[in-house]
């Protein structure tokens, strides 16, 4: 049925134009109240972030002004340029910290993407003994935050001799359960007939995986990549890495942040630099993430 005829069926003469376009079960008063509530809540949520950003744009004298203003009167990028000067003067150069973070993030994410999607593929599309149990264990493991497993992990990495190397951060990132979980749930939505057709045409498992499944789950790739990048970007790795030249960017930035009152301006800039990257990544990939999350449900 085309849209026009459908509208003709529902349309009744006494319906005003405004009302006809509305969803069922809604009152105008309720809608207005809820939108107002939402705007208010949104302002509360966003205020600290806006405040942090405007703080970073304030020149020093305004930072210490009382009563404070929410927005800077003469916004400058001085704090940011100061920050880069400080970073440039540090014993380990800025580019080295940057390289560390990029390397850790890229290697961890790439490995995670490949390994997790291989595992997720067979769990989603084949039924084999032990598969379901394994998946159940993974869903339980989603609850364990970094600190909870931190001590045995430290002992293990110590035994492997990975303390103070990049591997101490990269390899655990491969095993992140949330990415695996989302990938598996998303792959379940893929039609099985697609795989069967490829099999009949003589493709082996690897070909099916690399040629058919992976190109069809690109939204899930993005989601996996983004969650992994977010985790690794914020990873200070303070317990595993202690040589200055292997420390991550966020760690170095936060060291500047702790530099006391003289660095107030730069600290404000650091806050913005650290938070802006994950937020920007999210903004640009929102639709793909939401597409993946649509299949994130836990069935029992």
């Amino acid at each position: 049925m085309s849209k026009k005829t459908q509208a003709a069926v529902i349309e009744k003469p006494y319906h005003k134009k405004l009302i006809r376009r509305r969803k069922p079960n809604r009152s105008i008063g309720g809608d207005v109240a809820l939108v107002l509530f939402l705007v208010l809540a949104g302002l509360v949520m966003v205020f600290p972030i806006v405040y942090a950003v405007s703080n970073a744009l304030k020149p020093l004298d305004e930072l210490f002004m009382f009563p404070p203003r929410i927005f800077a009167r003469n916004p400058t990028f001085d704090n940011f340029s100061d920050l880069f000067v400080t970073m440039g003067k540090s014993w380990v150069t800025f580019s080295r910290y940057f390289f560390n973070t990029v390397f850790i993030t890229a290697a961890g994410t790439a490995g995670h993407l490949l390994i997790a999607s291989m595992g997720a593929f067979v769990l989603a599309k084949y039924d084999f003994p032990g598969g379901r149990t394994f998946f159940k264990i993974v869903t339980i493991a989603m609850m364990f935050s970094y600190y909870v497993t931190g001590i045995p992990n430290y002992i293990l990495i110590n035994k492997l001799g990975w303390i103070d190397t990049y591997w101490a951060i990269i390899v655990p990132a491969f095993a992140s359960p949330i990415g695996f979980f989302l990938m598996k749930q998303f792959m379940e939505g893929l039609p099985t007939s697609l795989i069967e057709a490829a099999k009949i045409d003589g493709a082996n498992e690897w070909r099916v995986f690399a040629g058919i499944v992976m190109p069809n789950v690109k939204p899930a790739w993005m989601t996996l990549i983004i969650f992994s990048v977010q985790g690794l970007w914020n990873n200070r790795a303070a317990t595993f890495i202690y040589s200055e030249e292997r420390k991550t960017l966020v760690y170095a930035l936060q060291q500047i942040q702790l530099g006391g009152i003289a660095r107030t301006g730069q600290a404000a800039a650091v806050l913005v630099v650290v938070m802006i990257v994950p937020i920007l990544i999210f903004v640009f990939s929102e639709s793909q993430i939401l597409e993946t999350m649509a299949s994130s449900g836990l069935k029992d």
Partner: protein
């Protein structure tokens, strides 16, 4: 009885045989799963098992672990009053911010869902941003500073509600509540995204059918149609909020200091951090971790059975 056992074992044997055959056919599956399974076992299964093992020993990394039975648990539960403060705080935070954050996630996701498309995209970013903003929450320490120049103090004093500045982040009376506020601010995480995505997938025709069947307002629609079809996402969101609620430590450590005044902002994870990475009493720390695991799993079970009743 003997007959019964014989039959039972025969059945088990048969089942095992079938499984083995199936496993043989799906050799490739195991090959595909193997890399992930190995890393997962190393970094998520092994730590749990190791935690349980080490929790029965005295271990300080330098010497070999020495078996001491349940001594760690005894001193943890009976002698360590700071740990009891930690449990109390964690439970308080979990009981308040867990459900509240969960409900907030759903409520905002549901309200956002009514908005037109591009407004919705902006709103999702606005609500999700705090949870990924790194350590942006330290900005709250500016708002809640303890002197008269802290914004909240200044504001309340101008209104005349208080006459001396309150030490929001160092007075044991207030700090845990401030931490909860901050945790709530950050609580719209992956569960929230899952809700937003799930709500877009709710079948429109079901809603229209419900309208015909006599559903009158949005609340009835929510309870009878939206919630039941969102059940899988609700479960996922529950797992996510358990993680958040029990794993609290960054916020309290960075806002209230470590250690905090009178340990009033100590959580289980802070305690674990203290014994694991400051005092290197790994056995003791592992006992703490084991208790935390148990709490999380039990809590998860309870919530799942609760959620099964939604919409019925």
């Amino acid at each position: 009885m003997k007959e019964f056992f014989k039959k039972y074992f025969e059945l088990r044997k048969y089942n095992a045989k079938v499984a083995w055959k199936k496993a043989k056919i799906s050799k490739n599956c195991y090959l595909f799963l193997a890399p992930y399974a190995i890393f997962f076992t190393m970094f998520f299964v092994f730590p749990v098992v190791a935690s349980i093992y080490f929790s029965f020993t005295y271990y300080n990394i330098l010497e070999a672990p020495r078996f001491i039975g349940i001594q760690n648990y005894i001193s943890l539960l009976l002698e360590d009053d700071i740990f009891l403060i930690g449990i109390k705080n964690t439970l308080l935070i979990a009981v308040i911010t867990g459900p509240l954050g969960y409900i907030m996630s759903f409520l905002f996701a549901w309200l956002i869902n009514e908005l037109p498309r591009w407004v919705r995209s902006v709103a999702v970013v606005v609500f999700y941003a705090p949870s990924i903003a790194g350590n942006c929450f330290v900005i709250f320490s500016v708002f809640f500073r303890g002197d008269a120049y802290g914004y909240v103090n200044a504001f309340l004093m101008n209104l005349g509600l208080i006459d001396t500045p309150k030490f929001w982040l160092t007075d044991p009376k207030y700090m845990i509540w401030i931490c909860m506020l901050v945790i709530l601010w950050m609580s719209l995480g992956q569960g929230f995204l899952s809700f937003v995505a799930g709500l877009q997938g709710v079948d429109r025709s079901q809603i229209e059918a419900g309208c015909m069947d006599g559903i009158k307002n949005r609340w009835q629609e929510l309870w009878y149609i939206t919630l039941p079809s969102m059940k899988p996402m609700l479960m996922f969101g529950a797992v996510m909020s358990i993680t958040q609620a029990f794993g609290v430590c960054d916020v309290t450590m960075q806002l209230c200091g470590y250690p905090s005044t009178d340990y009033a902002a100590r959580t289980i994870v802070t305690h674990l951090f203290d014994y694991g990475f400051t005092r290197y009493e790994m056995g003791y720390a592992c006992a703490i971790a084991t208790i935390l695991f148990l709490m999380m799993i039990l809590c998860n079970k309870a919530i799942q059975s609760l959620l099964r009743r939604v919409g019925t």
